[in-house]
Subunit: 187 residues, 2 copies
DNA sequence: AGCTTTCAGCTAACAGAGTTAGCCAAACCT
DNA sequence: AGGTTTGGCTAACTCTGTTAGCTGAAAGCT
């Protein structure tokens, strides 16, 4: 039995990719094992179990999202940065719905949890966007939560087909960006 | 063996209550059976299975949310209606996190699916809020999606402890209401 | 009331996913 | 080469969901 040359990172990456393909709910240990060319119990040499796998996929997703958003806003400020960040975030969620779903409803165990660290990285990218607006220091946290709620809500609703009727979704999203920009400017 | 006097509605109601208590992820058929005083297989006389149960809980939650929001805005208009709707919605999600979670990531099978009907009822309540603002007909859908995204995002993030640091969450929520009000007014 | 029919709840049994235990051989390290 | 580590395997167990088939209590009919 030749070795497959796996390590935790490879298993998590494969799990994230598989979740994107089949949906997080259908990501099973057996399916993942088959994908990486190994029998199910062998996965336990690399991850602690299904819950651990989920948390690692979530941390990976948040880090990737932070990279995507952080990269997208380079060289932009104000409304351009806001639009770039929003589009990059939504694109990431739509391209990687499975791994992003892994981040929903999950709580970091403490401030040093890789999940919490990755979350702060993503938050940092949005904070950078807000620096381009004249926002009182006391309003920063509120504005940050507003942005998170707005983009997270939109992306998850769209990812689950929550918008039923037919008005163009891209158009709604651009409208949302304009709305947030106006609001942040008029604060 | 005396009969328990169950029917689908009773099972679904108990399932929703249990989901609120233990979390949707921990809602198991066995636990629900125990709660209603019956052996597990007996549940299948009332609901089709776990997925069917989930959908029914989701429909119940959406109807209840629609009632809560619709009731809260009675007699109010404009910003008062917006604030009342937002607070009622958030309160509902925080009081019933389990059943609300059942609505996430679920797709109605068609326009007559009770889930779709309930979803439209909730949407109708938010539409009523928007009537208090001067919004162009072409912007209505966008504004509606904005409100849904904002409240859904905020409520779900808070329900999963997604807001890590310490700024007061109620305060952020009131800030969000003011933000949305300004934005809708300046549209 | 008695008879019939229906059906809610039961036990038994199975399928599938997650997980643990324990073995063995491949890779690594002197 | 010898010894150690460790990744992969098989076997086996648990727990959850589900189906099949039985049975007696409730509801309806005459």
């Amino acid at each position: 039995m030749p070795r497959a040359g796996l390590d935790p990172a490879a298993v998590v990456a494969a799990g994230a990719a598989l979740a994107d393909e089949v949906g997080l709910a259908n990501l099973t240990m057996g399916l993942l094992a088959e994908r990486v060319g190994v029998r199910t119990p062998s996965l336990y040499k690399h991850v602690g179990g299904q819950e651990d796998l989920n948390r690692r996929i979530a941390a990976l997703a948040l880090n990737e999202a932070a990279d995507a958003v952080g990269g997208a806003i380079q060289g932009y400020a104000g409304r351009d940065a806001l639009a770039a960040a929003a589009r990059a975030f939504r694109a990431f969620v739509l391209e990687h719905p499975g791994r992003y779903a892994a981040t929903i409803g999950i709580e970091p165990s403490g401030p040093d949890d890789p999940l919490a660290v990755a979350g702060r990285r993503l938050l940092g990218a949005f904070t950078a966007v807000l620096r381009g607006y004249q926002i009182a220091e006391s309003d920063m946290d509120h504005a940050l939560r507003m942005l998170r709620s707005l983009w997270h809500g939109f992306a998850t609703l769209q990812a689950s087909n929550g918008f039923q009727w037919s008005a163009d979704i891209d158009e709604s999203f651009e409208w949302l960006i304009a709305f947030a920009d106006r609001g942040l400017r008029a604060g």
